[in-house]
């Protein structure tokens, strides 16, 4: 069981208390294995950012954790994140779990050189290191993310957005954490820089062996990047499956609709419909499955009972779906029951293609 580095068990989070409480995350369970890249996909109101912020106790007021348990497997043994005190959390943060946010490139202090900001991290957590050691390590970190060492003396505004994001990633890896959480790290960057950074991230993951929770709304990005994908809707986990399986054969109607919301880059141009309706209003959720008002496969039960996250009937692959159509008493709709074909692993080492069309 020590293969699991982060275990989230039925975590629930709300904003506000008592009458004003709005549930942002409801009963979410997931496990992260050592070295795994877990993609967390969802749109506005899905609760994906709230989930990871709560799991690391970084959620700002008026957020309150209302239930569940989060266990992090640190170097000193398992830690109950929700019961840990400030001292413990401070030790864990950055050296055990580190976080990179969306506008993290704006998290750099504009009046300090980046070399100093990197060494600050080292100084705070590794008091035994000498100044020379810290500088050397900072240089090595920059090199790791593809920035030349002379940039240690640059100010943040002298670097482009992509480079600043790389610096944030370097900072996140400075103490060799076991888990790196990235919340939409490349959304604000252009697509070419995004591709480069993600490539570097995978390389680093292969070399250093940390696990990644990658949060994004861009499902198509996750297919290429993640080992498994968890899809969230209205604060609940609706599907959790290996990445390739999710793309080839989504089981949950929302995953299916989401996958079909990305126009293809090849093949004939055909009309696509996306998902009708609007994102959910968390303060006014309908009874039963939160997705049912927009679901084209909904049946009577969907409006009254909340589906549980379980393996679909007859599927032993480890996939989990929260949908009544997969309960087993009746066969699911054809499009949601496409057989999965085991595919070749996503990442193979490939000779560089000169940016050409594939």
């Amino acid at each position: 069981m020590t293969d699991i580095v982060l275990d989230i068990d039925r975590l629930s989070v709300a904003y506000g208390v008592e009458d004003n409480a709005v549930t942002a995350v409801a009963d979410v369970s997931m496990r992260l294995r050592r070295g795994e890249v877990l993609g967390l996909a969802g749109e506005s109101g899905s609760g994906k950012s709230t989930l990871v912020q709560a799991a690391t106790r970084l959620l700002r007021p008026p957020g309150v954790i209302t239930g569940g348990r989060v266990t992090f497997e640190s170097a000193d043994g398992p830690v109950d994140m929700l019961a840990a005190d400030e001292h413990r959390l401070r030790k864990l943060r950055w050296s055990g779990i580190s976080v990179v946010f969306q506008s993290a490139m704006n998290a750099l202090n504009p009046v300090y050189r980046i070399g100093r900001q990197l060494t600050e991290v080292l100084r705070a957590h590794r008091p035994g290191m000498s100044t020379a050691d810290r500088t050397a390590r900072a240089k090595e970190l920059l090199r790791m993310v593809g920035i030349t060492g002379d940039r240690l003396n640059s100010y943040p505004h002298e670097l482009s957005g992509g480079m600043r994001q790389r610096v944030m990633i370097a900072m996140a890896l400075a103490l060799e954490p076991r888990v790196v959480i990235m919340d939409e790290p490349t959304t604000a960057l252009d697509v070419v820089t995004q591709r480069e950074i993600l490539g570097e991230l995978i390389e680093l993951r292969d070399r250093l062996g940390f696990a990644v929770v990658f949060i994004t709304h861009d499902l198509s990005l996750l297919i290429e990047l993640a080992d498994s994908i968890a899809v969230m809707y209205a604060g609940r986990l609706v599907e959790h499956a290996p990445a390739r399986d999710l793309f080839d054969a989504p089981r949950h109607p929302y995953s299916y609709g989401l996958r079909n919301s990305f126009p293809a880059l090849s093949g004939p141009v055909e009309r696509m419909t996306g998902i009708p309706g609007s994102p959910p209003d968390l303060s006014d959720l309908p009874p039963g499955c939160p997705f049912h008002p927009r679901c084209s496969f909904a049946v009577a039960r969907c409006a009254t009972d909340m589906p549980q996250l379980v393996p679909p009937a007859g599927d032993g692959s480890g996939r989990l779906v929260a949908c009544w159509r997969h309960e087993g008493t009746e066969p699911p709709p054809a499009v949601l029951a496409v057989p999965t074909v085991p595919a070749a692993p996503i990442r193979t080492t490939v000779a560089p293609i000169a940016g050409g069309a594939v």
Binding site: E43, S44, G267, R271, I275, A354, A357
Partner: protein, 333 residues
Amino acid sequence: MTAVEPNRTARAAALEAVDLTKHFPVRRLGFHRRVVRAVDGVSLRLERGGVTAVVGESGSGKSTVARLLARLITPTGGEIKLAGQPVTGHSADLAYRRRVQLVLQDPFSSLNPVHSVRYHLYRPLQLHGMTEGDPDAAARQLLTRVALTPAAQFIDKYPHELSGGQRQRVAIARALAVRPEVLLADEPVSMLDVSIRLGVLNLLADLRDTEELALLYVTHDIASARYLADTVMVMYAGQVVEVGPATEVTDQPAHPYTQLLRGAAPDPQRAQVVVTTGRGSPPSLVSPPTGCRFHPRCPHAMAICKQTAPPSVPVSAGHVAACWLHTDSGAAR
């Protein structure tokens, strides 16, 4: 939606830009007046019943082009022609605005928070003297055209009561109120939830078909450009690098930058992982590289690329690229 017909008969250009240029002055305490060459020598045609996508990244100048065409900024050079007639001076402003409209990117700030939906839809009608009949009916009809039904439910709402997708539809309805011939859309879906984007894109496609609008779709997402547009124009560092039918430009990109863009875009159906060359970022527009602006990043750069800016070279029917590789003297692809 059908695939692009390669041999479209020549239609009158609803809006045309010829050699459009915009240089922004940079406030410097120095002797030299430096400028940001945001847009340099851009020519394009918008035809009725067609969508032209302008694809590029931030800093490519695509948003500036949209604002130039909307006459929010005055060009430094070049000219704009509306239905063949050159557009000049300020007196033509209101008449121009009746025929050319703009939809902006951010649904959360494109509607004034203190005004209701009704005001947003009725105001353009008032300004252009199109107020005969019942104003409420006109507003409700507009809401129906953008599929915000039942219209009566939305007409009294304020922007903060609507979702992002609904606000964007209201913004489109407002633009349609004066029955323009040309609709410019600057990244209309970039800030919307993924599942909502297609709805708005489909709406634009339907408007192109039913109202014979000439649509300009500015985006950084090459996949959505391929989906919606008939023609795709790729911009880099303020210049046009490639123009052609949408599927052809995305499936067989001729310019190395387009190839880079195509390779970098997430594609779940791609068989192998792409390792991109052409590392680096877009150049400074204050002092852009000499010759072809892409040459510092181009894997195929030749000596001539550093010296002279490439002309627009035809690659196939209706498809041109500004690249020395495609001239007779350049290396074969």
